[in-house]
Symmetry: C2
Subunit: 343 residues, 2 copies
DNA sequence: TTTTAGCAGTCTGTAAAAAAGAGTGCTAAA
DNA sequence: TTTAGCACTCTTTTTTACAGACTGCTAAAA
């Protein structure tokens, strides 16, 4: 257990370091804290904090910097976190105004803005609506024997795919299938239909409409599957370059880092399992070696009850946590509200 | 006018520098060239080349490096350029095999491959087909009073946009409009229809079908316009980081460079007006200060007679020009052929 | 006139040495 | 418990020294 004075000093070290990015020494703390003890006393207290691995020194005669555990302690015991007011959320909501063609555009723009605001990298994973419904399915002939399949879902997303008319099938027979799909499947949820396909229920039904539905089913399934794929929206992908603890010695690591964010698959692995309003993970807690010298704040947002969208910030360990946690929280609430407009 | 020996030396300097990235001195040239003159003679010749600003030295007692003008001279007078054989194009064509959902996917993949092959940044601007035709236009109701407009063009591209049902319009009246569009406009080229809108011809016609077509027309026009927007496909955007002449002192310039490629608008300004098979521009010739220490090779490709697509490589000034020019040429021809599959 | 050998002079890059700065840890006294 | 003081450590910056790589010039040779 830390004494009040030790907490005060730890807080000051974190504050100073967060501001200046330089190891902070006993003398500077004394001036900063405006405390009535000498620098020697502060040095003694610092020794205690160091024994507890809350702060570290880079080398024998340098000032101290917070350790990851020190940040953790700060977050858990020292940081005072405000809650977001409804007013603030509304202001934010107004600022995300704009005429977007689709949800995805809106989310991209939001990520960009959040990144600009913080100087960090923002990422948004669109919530999956388990009730996402099929709104329409169309087959449209192009030139030659090319066709294009178009699936529209209730969130306004359009998934399309071109293909060649399979041998043995006529456009007319496909038309029949499309009519059937639109009659029977529109209004049903995508996951339900995917289940029907897996269980063989749909194939059986379609077999009544046409002899060999296999080719058609494969196509339909592919488009369906692609329509529910999670997409990652990135903002300020390049900010990560300027926010690292240490400068990059070689471009190699820099590349790896950028490539990490370019891979939706890898980004999806970064999301945390905790369910706090705002989850804060420091350095190695993220579980991705490339991000060991970064921190990640994340919150969930979503449609109606289904808060499975992710809104996250990735930046240097040294950052104003309380401010950004608040911001993220506000953005998350705003997004949750905004999403309803698109359902 | 340069003597044969001077040309030989210039060529050797460029070759050596291209290979080793180190300023080349008279002694090394003597060994390399296996020539029967002494290094002093070579020094004399180098002085001549330097007077003509074909080579430069970084400082008093360093070897020489080619100047931008030196590269230019090399390209114009010294480089022997092969032509691509049909066989090579075919091989390439096979390697771009793959099942792509749309042209855009194919182009992205090609850019990626070209970038991997060269270690440079590749960019592809999709050719605009002036005969691009409208294949279908649909309005699909979503939940609430949301609608989604979908335009399919003959290249298999789908452009969509969600919007709220404007007041005073009913879904039924819109249906009429859609039917009319599909009856009258499908098969016409997009540019033709855009002209009809500008000239007021289409509004007049639509006015017969419905009272106030303004709201509908705006929407239709917007979707139409977006469908012919040029898209830029980038490959190896990050390669630019490793290929610069000098290391980056600060991350700022590095960022600017990456942002340049992230902006389609700016990328479009980079394309040259010349109409050589492969245009090669060196440093400042590109006309973009950020790329002063890079070179850009570009070629055109396209659909049928309309070669207005661009295929380009951006990399360090110091590069094997003849090899990459050949490669680019081959890829351009392959793409031109490949495009026909998608029309 | 052209080519060559030789050498002084210039600049870079690196290594070694020196100096300056910032901070700690310990001791002994208040 | 707190404080003043000082020796010690480690980093960073500056200085100095030196080897290496070329050039440019001169004077002689071809």
């Amino acid at each position: 257990m830390l004494t009040e004075r030790q907490k005060l000093i730890l807080g000051a070290i974190i504050y100073q370091y967060t501001q200046t990015a330089k190891a902070v020494g006993s003398k500077r703390l004394q001036e900063e804290l405006n405390i009535k003890v000498s620098s020697a006393t502060i040095r003694n207290e610092m020794a205690v904090l160091e024994d507890a691995d809350l702060i570290r020194k880079l080398h024998t005669s340098a000032g101290r910097v917070p350790s990851p555990y020190g940040y953790r302690y700060y977050l858990d015991h020292l940081m005072v976190s405000r809650t977001v007011t409804e007013d603030e959320v509304n202001k934010l909501l107004n600022s995300i105004q704009g005429n977007f063609h689709e949800v995805d555009d809106m989310l991209s723009e939001t990520a960009r803005r959040l990144a600009d605001l913080t100087g960090m990298t923002a990422l948004i994973i669109k919530p999956v609506d388990p009730d996402l419904k099929i709104s329409s399915f169309q087959l449209i002939p192009l030139e030659g024997s090319q066709l294009i399949a178009i699936l529209v879902t209730s969130d306004g997303k359009v998934t399309s795919q071109t293909f060649k008319l399979p041998k043995g099938l006529t456009v007319a027979s496909l038309e029949g299938m499309v009519t059937y799909i639109n009659l029977q499947m529109v209004g049903r949820s995508v996951s339900e239909v995917l289940d029907m396909m897996d269980s063989g229920k749909l194939p059986v039904q379609l077999a009544r409409v046409i002899q060999s539905p296999a080719a058609f089913l494969q196509l339909f399934g592919e488009v369906l599957y692609r329509s529910v794929q999670q997409k990652v929206h990135l903002g300020g992908r390049l900010n990560i370059l300027e926010s690292g603890e240490q400068e990059f010695k070689d471009t190699t690591q820099m590349r790896r880092l950028l490539e990490l964010f370019d891979s939706p698959q890898k980004v999806l692995q970064l999301i945390p399992h905790e369910s706090k309003p705002v989850a804060i993970r420091i350095g190695a807690e993220i579980g991705e070696p490339l991000l060991d010298s970064y921190s990640m704040l994340s919150t969930r947002f979503g449609i109606r009850g289904h808060a499975n969208g992710i809104l996250a910030l990735v930046g240097p360990i040294r950052m104003p946590y309380s401010r950004y946690a608040l911001l993220l929280n506000a953005f998350g609430q705003a997004l949750t509200q905004k999403m309803t407009e698109y359902v």
